[in-house]
Symmetry: C2
Subunit: 385 residues, 2 copies
DNA sequence: CACTCTTGGAGAAACGTATCTCCAAGGGCT
DNA sequence: AGCCCTTGGAGATACGTTTCTCCAAGAGTG
């Protein structure tokens, strides 16, 4: 059998190989043509069931596995989706650092696998060495900074890009984000209703969309209700800096009586800082932070958190991306991205479609004052919602 | 320029394409052959620097990006490494669930990228749909169960496999693991020295190597020192089950006065259970658990943890794998895997090379008794180390 | 001058698949 | 009988690289 396969297969110069069986070997062993094998295995063409099953059996017997590389080259599709992970500093990658990224990545992986795609973890740095060597059908970009050159180049080269986080100034196929403004305003309202008179913010120094939008929403709210902004910013990727910033915030002469921390560890940081200054939570200080971690359910006291629902985001991002990938070529055979090149698309058809997803405020003890100090004159005028 | 490129390129039937520039286009535009372009861009062949830089410039101008699929097909190398993630139940994946996996995956990703490879996240289930469609140069398998069919098939098909966790009964190229036996014995000794008379174990019901080796080490130690084993097992992937098992363990009539929990959340679980039963830690109950999380540094009291140093593991696993990948073809051109097919290799050259890596015990308050109940008659005979 | 060696580079053969085109044979219909 | 339509399948091409082989022209050397 094997000898026959080797003999009848047309291998011109190189005499004999003991490599894995190729489609040619299967064809020879089954006594049919390559076309028939391909059609039989892929369920295409018009073949009687008998031929189909016979070919399949032979392929199974030879342990035939189609070459993914050849298939990719031929079809132009690899079944691979890039997942950029933000890389602070040099080597460490944040896709497991924060619970948000971890959950999001997990949901994205799951959604992709469910549709037959696999995720490739890639750094956000634009080193071509790695990016250029991988055939990607599309890419998920997590929270791209303004004018990300990597995103621009990907989009320019025709790879669909869907971002988690509204992109600042770079073109993407689509984007998904939370309604950060609504979330922050909701928290500020919540704190006001709990009796807060002066709400502080613990924010970051980076320019990512989340930080920017949240901070802007805070400042806008302050302007609207007439409160002087009280905030401290620190590099969010530095775990030690958060504690210092929390300390700074509570050490200010205009110390806030409520604080919202934008980053996951801020709850712990603020709690520790409050303890250090002898402030009781929630009696002297109301606390809310944005986190996906459930440790805040068991802290003393439990801390109110804002969940961005990263799993929903991850799932949505991947599904949007795969829709774009499969919509391009599968339908009419018309390549949309080519009909509307990036430069025309950005200017012509307007901004890329974005989806805003709701957040969820998990109210715990840290933001509920048992004996509210005041029930009149809430900081925010009741007329405005 | 572009017109000339299109004209001189030999595109037979299909008239004109607006696709991405290929190597042919670059060759035509630069007035050289395809060979020269390939050599110039890849730094091979004998070319004067002038030609090299000219070709590079033309390629840059045309925005040429080599097709990863074609390169993979030709060279047989994709630059892709599979990372299997254990998938308990259906969809959820554990590569971010536990801090150990998260850290390990992060380190592995980083190490791979540093050597020009990217990681593809793949489920441990042997669904061919995804696995078969991806050209992998090798695979990292996290803690394969005994006789994992996936690993066997991968290995059989010639893909190098390196596992994190000593493989039970399936052939791998190499493996890396902690010295779990030594780690457990070290902890039991540590607890004994702190005054423990009866040490309990919180373990899992699954058959992975870690659980098995650790449990066996515990049982062996018990037999040696003459203590009756006191342990409870539960399905480790169920977060709720841990708390129940911890409760069961402390509710037993032969309640231990020290417990080692094999899984990350066990520290919290045990602490809560101890509180429920009015047991003070460490006065009434000594506690150690295996965890990579630093939350145990701030619990009340801080809990002694065993760190498996997952980053070291991840880095080592990936480096071993890439060594195997590049050693096969790069050196003499001799394909080792073909010279020694799996069946000969397993029987002939003995078990695959394994590396044992040390763990680290981070001693905190939970395992140090302030006033030891007894200083005489430590449970373990001093003669044996 | 005849020769070898080096330099610079061109040609063409794979890699393994998917798919487009085309063909032969048979069967039914007018 | 002539024609068309369906079935079953073969041939050939293209996907875009890398790389092996080979060649021409100069440059040194006896």
């Amino acid at each position: 059998m094997t000898a026959a396969a080797n003999q009848s297969g047309r291998r011109p110069t190189t005499s004999r190989r003991l490599e894995r069986a190729g489609i040619r070997d299967v064809a020879a062993a089954a006594g049919v043509s390559i076309t028939t094998v391909s059609d039989a295995l892929n369920g295409k063409g018009r073949l009687p069931d008998e031929t189909r099953s016979r070919v399949r059996e032979v392929a199974e017997r030879l342990g035939y596995r189609p070459s993914a590389a050849a298939r990719t080259l031929r079809t132009g599709r690899s079944g691979l989706i890039g997942l950029t992970v933000t890389t602070y500093g040099e080597e460490p990658f944040t896709f497991t650092e924060f619970a948000y990224f971890a959950e999001m990545a997990r949901a994205a992986t799951s959604a992709a696998l469910g549709r037959g795609y696999a995720l490739v973890v890639l750094p956000a740095s634009s080193r071509h060495d790695v990016w250029g060597n991988i055939a990607l059908d599309g890419t998920v970009v997590i929270d791209p900074p303004d004018q990300d050159p990597l995103v621009s180049e990907l989009y320019r080269s025709g790879v669909p890009v869907v971002s988690d986080g509204k992109p600042g100034n770079c073109p993407v196929t689509a984007w998904v984000d939370n309604d950060h403004e609504a979330a922050v305003l909701g928290i500020l309202d919540h704190l006001s209703e709990a009796g807060a008179r002066r709400i502080g913010l613990l924010t970051g120094t980076s320019t990512d969309t989340y930080t920017r939008l949240s901070t802007e929403a805070y400042l806008g709210w302050c302007a609207k209700v007439g409160q002087e902004p009280v905030y401290e910013a620190y590099p969010a990727h530095d775990p030690a800096a958060g504690a210092v910033a929390a300390d700074r915030l509570l050490a200010r002469p205009d110390r806030p009586d409520a604080v919202y921390g934008l980053f996951d560890p801020n709850g712990t940081d603020l709690l520790a800082a409050a303890r250090r200054y002898g402030l009781r939570v929630p009696d002297d200080l109301l606390l809310v932070c944005c986190s996906e971690s459930d440790v805040y359910a068991t802290t003393e006291p439990p801390i109110t958190t804002l969940s961005l629902k990263p799993r929903r985001i991850g799932t949505t991002v991947v599904n949007l991306l795969i829709d774009a990938i499969e919509g391009v070529d599968s339908g009419t055979g018309v390549d949309i991205a080519r009909l509307f090149p990036p430069r025309f698309r950005t200017a012509g058809t307007g901004p890329p479609p974005g989806t805003l997803m709701p957040t969820e405020l998990i109210v715990r003890a840290s933001s509920q004052r048992r004996s509210p100090r005041t029930t009149v004159n809430p900081p925010r005028p009741p007329g405005e919602v």
